[in-house]
Symmetry: C2
Subunit: 596 residues, 2 copies
């Protein structure tokens, strides 16, 4: 088996750290018990392990192929997609009203993790469809919801997000695609979109493109962008498919990784205009797109955790099998499996600690989202929504950055074999590399963290989280033992560094924005390290309380948390120094453009 | 131009940090003046920039091809290799007696850097030939030297190193290739070697394989390995080529990167035995191979610096050209080139600071090697040799690890375009990934640093270097200004961390070797960060002394050194914590094999 879903750790995090019991008490989530969660995860694991994981390497070797506008997915993908949608997996988190399963995000999230770990390229198709569903549910008319959402959830159709244009990458103000009103409530779209994930393929009967474009009188910049539905095939009133719309895939990209996922260049309107339907109101497209993007950003963070775990599992398997060199402590006369070598152990522990810390942080964020949606008290909803929104750029940015580190360590554990493509370790190193870029680069996440999530509320959420870390530090103090002492000291130092960074952002953003934004990615990383370290500390406490029931599992959790404290948390102080060094155009900004 | 050799920085480092003037006073190096160095570098740059650099992407797209035992190099490589050898570049550092140019390693090193930056795959062929030459000059008979070395220096033939076998990667004790004496002084070799770089190709008339093998009565382990010359074609007494020897390339690998460099599986003796000639004495093969390896390890460290610089140059060019988003400080109403965004600036500065720090450290090491070879005073030679040997695993290990970080940042600067192969940034990310693996993984370098370079002399060299850092800190104190204060504080903290790590290694190696080796790679990285930081501090002092003559260049040097102090040196403290945390099987070693 090339991938085994870490269900035990997932359930531990859901129950002990993310508060599954509390989620099950929210209105509408009454069925979300631990038993339900376990049953859903077990079923998801079956599909992911047996069907999707074996296709991962196949997709790398036989990517999607473009031929005269048509894209054929990797052999086996179409059949696997059928199994995926027929199992109801597209609808896990979507409403019962539209044929979804209506489960909490906290239960959907481990399913997303498994899906991505099993097959990153494949998973992008449902991920984008999720985004389209979310946008339609939020901003679409009831007629649009009825027409599109059940088909998307049922997997008869898939969805895409069309933002990027050659001149408009991170900066959507530069979007130029035109939408001309036809007088009958419809529009004709003209323009070129690039980097459209699963923008064309043969896995479903229709593709529902959600497209950002400008109407003729729209104001300049991001406030003049509207959102349109542009189906690949027109949809008749009875839901059957009509003629082909004027949107065509003119090429797909030759990429470093995720090769099975076709990245399309789409041409709209070369033959008279692509028929489009406005979603919500004109000029509010970016706002709606952000709804999709927030969901998609969280999901991309999960992709980071997923590829990290897959790389970890592969490295562990290799390290337990490969025999090389005698142990440095002289405990054996013969060569041993390389997992016995301390540096291999260190690399594996680093991979494991980062992955577990990231998983814990992301699942806790998912639970915040559930409370934000379902809590009966409005003030509570707002409070949890604010925490969730603070965590989204961190989950997206930090969990993807670490996936590159973890995948790279995975190659290193394999030694020379890691560099040979047949081994498979290199695929994760290549695949992971997109994660810090798409759905907003780490810098874009960091801008969001600084501007909308820290400055706007005067650091209130950040400070609240730092206070809660303080409570965990208190709880750690009740334990002796080196592991707890280590975690307490390192987490305290980390929390101080985070507080210093937040303070720096708050006090310098107005008078010296360049200095703040020079350290914004570092602040994001620092927050990720410390907040995930906090979860590892909570995991340690939970493990200590349960240790006698399963000494190996809980003992491993404590050891991994300790490793996190000693090898990952100390990075926080280094980031603090770097963040605080940028003042008044010095340090990072001292070099002029010409001097580079 | 896709690559421009950074000659100004190279000469600055050679003159101000590595002491070119002193090298020019050593016996035999009288011609190694600054003028000579400049002339050599200028000539080297011409070839690298105009001929080799454009072939780099070509090699990635059209790798070497295997067909029935023959390997055809990328189109253009054979002609480029002719130009390379006809320019005398294979012989830069080799003795005049064998038709080399007899220049110091300090002048050869920037040439190696340029070569690798221009074309990493191509450069591996001369790199391996250098190793073969070095081994023959040290251990070969005068007849062997005369027969092989001038042809290797002249580029009529190339050389290889044959160490690895399927069961013997890092652990050469497991080598099984047999060498049977024929009674006439020659041997017949039988076995399989893998990962043989440029082990078969069409760029030269003959290939001189240096092969590790066991004679029938050899002791087990590494003390029973001998070194043999196995030419692809037999060599007649007049130097002309005879029949084909029984060594055949049965396949080449499909790799993540350096695709133009054929990585061969070589089969020795399938048709009666490959005729081989013993180099030096039986059972001393590993010792001789280490001579090649030390040279090769230093050269691989240079590859790290080279690919980092190339990735940096590409990222800077893109950042100056790509227009996206308005500046965060509101200084422009329109979108600007992305180099104006603080986070892009930070990424470029990180790439630059790491690359310059690594270059400075490596060139200083090269000068140590020159003094070790040529100083008239034997005690001085020994002293400098010890410093050089301490630095080799650091140059190899640290400069290659950072090349992955730098190449990855290079992709990030390009955003979505970085993930598209046509852009070219991804090639460096793929190519760099082998550097921490071949010629000894980073862990192997770290074992060397701990065992042979730190424990064996009781930390004498390490402590001597730390003392010398103290002198530089003193010199920094004579300057005021924020940059100098920053560097002084951070370098002092770094030196303390390094001293703590050395102390930990010395006091725990005997009683707790696992704890020491769990942190050996971290110790190597810590040493790299601090020793390169020391060079950046020295660069800062030299720049301050010269600033008025070229304010832009020296000002950039001071700003880059400061950035290094504030963004790179603080990592030292985090490494110290992690190193010191491994005690008595706790921390990194607390997880059992089953718990992974």
């Amino acid at each position: 088996m090339s991938y085994i879903a870490p269900i035990k750790d997932m359930l531990f995090v859901m129950k002990e750290l993310a508060g599954l019991d509390e989620i099950g008490k929210l209105p509408g989530f009454e069925e979300a018990t631990l038993d339900t969660a376990q049953a859903v995860l077990d079923e998801s694991a079956k599909l992911c392990e047996a069907v999707l994981a074996p296709l991962n390497v196949e997709g790398d070797r036989n990517p999607s192929v473009w031929n005269e506008g048509a894209v054929t997915a990797t052999p086996g993908f179409k059949e696997a997609f059928r199994q995926f949608v027929e199992g109801g997996w597209q609808g896990v988190q979507h409403p019962l009203d539209y044929e979804g399963q209506g489960l909490p995000k906290l239960i959907g999230t481990p399913c997303i993790e498994m899906l991505n770990a099993a097959n990153l390229s494949f998973s992008l198709c449902p991920l984008l469809t999720d985004g389209a569903i979310e946008a339609l549910l939020t901003a679409g008319s009831e007629e649009q919801k009825q027409r599109y959402v059940p088909k998307l959830i049922g997997g008869e159709w898939t969805g895409t997000m069309n933002l990027t244009e050659p001149q408009a990458g991170s900066d959507l103000a530069l979007v130029r695609t035109r939408a001309e009103p036809q007088g009958d409530g419809t529009y004709r779209l003209f323009g070129t979109k690039i980097f459209i994930t699963w923008g064309e393929h043969d896995m479903a009967d229709n593709i529902v493109h959600l497209v950002l474009a400008r109407t003729p009188d729209a104001p300049e910049g991001v406030k003049g962008i509207s959102l349109f539905i542009v189906p690949k095939f027109h949809v008749n009133d009875d839901g059957s498919l009509g003629a082909r719309n004027d949107v065509h895939c003119v090429s797909i990209e030759h990429k470093l990784g995720i090769k099975a996922s076709p990245t399309a260049v789409l041409q709209f309107g070369d033959h008279g205009g692509a028929l489009g339907y406005l979603v919500g109101e004109e000029n509010r497209g970016l706002e709606y797109m952000f709804i999709m993007m927030n969901a998609a950003r969280f999901a991309v963070g999960m992709q980071g955790i997923a590829v990290a775990d897959r790389a970890y599992q592969k490295a562990v398997a290799y390290a337990k099998e490969r025999v090389q060199s005698r142990p440095v402590d002289g405990s054996a006369k013969e060569a041993v499996t390389i997992i016995h070598h301390p540096d291999v152990r260190r690399m594996l522990a680093t991979m494991r600690a980062l992955t577990e810390g990231a998983r814990a942080l992301a699942y806790v964020a998912a639970a915040e989202s559930d409370i934000a949606h379902r809590h009966p008290d409005e003030a509570k909803r707002a409070e949890h929504q604010a925490v969730y929104e603070y965590l989204v750029p961190i989950v997206k940015g930090w969990c993807t950055e670490l996936s590159i580190e973890v995948a790279s360590l995975g190659v290193q554990v394999h030694g020379g074999m890691g560099f040979i493509e047949e081994t498979g370790a290199a695929q994760y190193y290549r695949d992971a590399r997109i994660l810090t870029i798409y759905e907003g680069t780490t810098a874009i996440q960091a801008n969001d963290l600084v501007s909308r999530k820290t400055l706007r509320d005067g650091g209130a959420v950040a400070k609240q989280l730092i206070d809660r870390i303080g409570e965990t530090i208190q709880a750690l103090s009740a334990h002796d033992g080196a592991a707890f002492v280590s975690m307490r000291d390192r987490l305290q130092a980390g929390a101080r560094s985070l507080a210093a960074a937040v303070g720096f952002v708050l006090s310098n953003a107005k008078r010296d924005p360049n200095a703040v934004f020079a350290g914004s990615v570092l602040y994001l990383q620092l927050a990720g390290i410390v907040l995930a370290g906090w979860q590892m500390a909570r995991a340690m406490l939970a493990a200590a309380a349960n240790e006698s029931t399963d000494p190996s599992f809980y003992g491993a959790k404590i050891a991994t948390a300790r490793f996190y404290a000693e090898h990952v948390l100390p990075r926080a102080a280094a980031l603090e120094v770097a963040i605080l060094s940028a003042k008044g155009g010095e340090g990072v900004l001292a070099l002029s453009e010409d001097q580079f």
